[in-house]
């Protein structure tokens, strides 16, 4: 038991994959093997969105305690609206739409960072405030109307290659790139150093503000991109389409092995945690438990999993 915990402690992301596998197994045992493959396909499709925004949130959380991006849901709503409006249902405008959604995200990120840097507002309150403003912008920009994605864009976001969603493949490549950025670039190292101790990082020559700026820009840009993809995937934008990602991003980041105290991050774990959370809900839905029981079990299983993994151990 302890040996297992120790081994998992070294690779915390393994745990979230193990958890995902376990719930999947429990589900198909119940259905006697029926639909196992399709379930994985669905899990991959939906985890993709959580992963894209989750990685942005991970970088933010890694920069240290108190850093969290609460503006992600609003950014998703705004950027989804911007993308759909600019694409206007026309295939020829897809690229403009994608650029615009990332641009919208960057604008939100820049605003967040300006609040944090210039006005010295604690990040959690800065992003909370900006999320409200961004939501207002989204409302007055889109008036709550849903716009359909261009057909090719919708097809791309829902395409599958023998059961594996194309978007998930892209997101896996994206995650690999982000893992490399985290561990092997100056920006990534700077982020990790800041998360351990801002003062030490600054005195060790790390460009603190540059890294923080990039972090908040990135988180919002990823949320923006996710907004467009989500709108494409679900057949149009909606104001409430990002709501579930507020807690979901924090949950996948932390379950995936990133330290809330900052300075330690884990990209693969986000994938594992996103799959785990999706399959967990699927399992409980499949079992047909009532809403209350489902909620209680969701909570208990999350706690049980993290308890099994054991606590924070210093890594490298």
């Amino acid at each position: 038991m302890n040996a297992l915990a120790a081994r998992l402690g070294n690779k915390p992301w393994l745990l979230s994959f193990a958890g995902a596998f376990a719930v999947w197994l429990a589900t198909i045992l119940f259905t006697e093997g029926k639909g196992g493959g399709e379930m994985i396909t669905a899990a991959l499709s939906f985890a993709t969105f959580t992963v894209i925004v989750g990685i942005g949130q991970m970088f933010v959380i890694t920069t240290g305690p108190g850093n969290v991006d609460l503006s992600i849901p609003s950014t998703i709503a705004l950027a989804g609206g911007v993308a759909m409006k600019i694409m206007g249902g026309q295939d020829s405008l897809i690229w403009f739409g994608l650029l615009a959604c990332i641009g919208a995200g960057l604008a939100v990120g820049a605003f967040n960072y300006a609040l944090i840097r210039l006005l010295k507002i604690p990040p959690i309150i800065a992003t909370l405030s900006s999320s409200l403003i961004v939501m207002s912008v989204a409302i007055s920009y889109g008036r709550g109307l849903q716009i359909k994605p261009p057909p090719s864009f919708a097809d791309f976001t829902t395409a599958q290659i023998s059961g594996v969603p194309v978007l998930s493949i892209c997101a896996i490549l994206f995650a690999i790139a982000m893992a490399i950025i985290l561990e092997r670039t100056i920006y990534g190292r700077a982020t990790l150093a800041i998360g351990q101790n801002v003062r030490v990082a600054h005195l060790a020559g790390v460009k603190v503000e540059r890294a923080r700026c990039i972090t908040y820009l990135m988180s919002a840009a990823f949320a923006g991109l996710c907004g467009a993809l989500l709108a494409g995937f679900s057949g149009g934008n909606a104001l409430n389409m990002g709501e579930e990602y507020l807690l979901a991003t924090i949950a996948v980041v932390v379950i995936g092995g990133t330290s809330v105290a900052g300075g330690r991050a884990n990209v693969p774990g986000i994938w594992g945690a996103a799959l785990f959370l999706y399959l967990l809900v699927t399992m409980l839905n499949t079992y047909g438990a009532s809403a209350g029981i489902r909620l209680v079990l969701t909570g208990l299983i999350i706690i049980a999993m993290i308890t099994l993994a054991g606590g924070d151990k210093p890594s490298r």
Binding site: P65, G66, L70, L115, L118, L119, K120, I121, P122, I124, I125, A126, L128, S129, S130, S131, L132, I133, V134, M135, S136, V137, I139, S140, L247, I250, A251, V254, I255, S259, V260, A261, S290, A291, G292, I293, R294, L295, V296, L297, T298, G299, L300, I301, I302, I303, I306, T307, G310, G311, D312, K313
Partner: protein, 324 residues
């Protein structure tokens, strides 16, 4: 020229005596005063017993929840379940408090005990509090939904009467907030064990080396959080006169924001109970302020954010001037 150069060392010595600290402590109050003045300018009716009573009623349960969150933040943890917990307390009290008060109190005591148990679990297995409490938020909500699939239930009259009590001179919400702030202040800032509790957030190793049980400290903090969460739930249903499982979902974020607005920090055991209550009240007042400014519904949501930013920017200005 000579003046300033001569003044600097003296000021520096003053600074050492804790001057900037005092100023930092005063910042939350500055925000509160600013927003109050803005409200009074917009609507002089607010500047009355009745006005303050109406505006601040819902600050009482938020103040309790904020203090609960503050206890958790003191030991460098974060509670993502306080909102759901307050909702559950509301449902429990709404179900049993009228008919079976003794049973109800026992159940609520059990809730506090389970909060302490969560603290113990987090400590013994060295778990990230954020995940455990996130999980617990589902558990609390789930139990509340099972208990009360549709809103309803009874609230005892004494509780309603207490929450709508109109004492002479000073409105009840103000008295309540003052009492909450003072009690929490005495518990955490003035008592001798309070110093140990805060110390655990500042340097747990030091506390351990001085021979204190960190397990007991964490359990105490979680139990205190649970206790104040219970008070939050009770005061809330005293106001709403009826519970609902989702009644306090928002308190999780509000309570964190309140502590931070009040000058608390996420790590290092640096918190201020009085500041936290001020923060909670400020948050509530931003809502009132908005209603007094007539804005188109499109921008009402954003305006709430903008008000928060302006209030905090004021503080930045003061900090900047102080730095010079």
């Amino acid at each position: 020229m000579t003046d300033t150069t001569l003044a600097t060392p003296a000021r520096d010595r003053m600074a050492f005596l804790g001057d900037p600290r005092l100023l930092r402590k005063a910042l939350p109050a500055v925000s509160l005063v600013a927003i109050l003045i803005a409200i009074f300018v917009l609507n002089e009716r607010a500047m009355s017993y009745r006005g303050l009573d109406l505006m601040l009623k819902y600050a009482v349960p938020i103040a309790f929840a904020t203090i609960a969150q503050m206890f958790i933040l003191t030991v460098n943890d974060l509670d993502l379940s306080i909102g759901a917990f307050v909702g559950l307390v509301a449902c429990i009290a709404g179900t049993w408090l009228v008919d079976q008060p003794v049973l109800c109190i026992l159940i609520l005591a059990g809730c506090i005990a389970s909060y302490a148990a969560i603290g113990a679990l987090i400590h013994m297995r060295r778990l990230p509090s954020i995940v455990v409490t996130l999980g617990m938020s589902f558990v609390w909500l789930g139990i509340a939904v099972i208990l009360m699939p549709t809103p309803g239930g009874m609230v005892p009259d004494w509780l309603k009467a207490l929450m709508s009590w109109k004492p002479p001179l000073v409105p009840f919400p103000i008295i309540a907030c003052l009492v909450i702030a003072l009690v929490a202040h005495v518990l955490l800032m003035e008592s001798s064990y309070g110093a140990v509790l805060r110390g655990a957030g500042g340097n747990a190793t030091a506390i351990d080396r001085a021979g204190w049980s960190l397990l007991r400290i964490r359990m105490s903090m979680y139990a205190l959080a649970g206790f104040f969460g219970v008070l939050s739930g009770l005061s809330l249903i005293g106001l709403t006169t009826s519970p609902d499982a989702h009644i306090a979902d928002r308190y999780t974020l509000l309570s964190i924001a309140g502590v931070i607005l009040g000058g608390g920090e996420f790590v290092g055991g640096r918190v201020s109970p009085i500041g936290a209550v001020i923060g909670a009240v400020t948050l509530v007042l931003t809502g009132s302020f908005l209603i007094f400014m007539r804005i188109s519904p499109d921008w009402q949501i954003g305006a709430q954010g903008a008000v928060l930013i302006v209030v905090l920017a004021l503080r930045a200005l003061i900090k900047l001037r102080e730095a010079k």
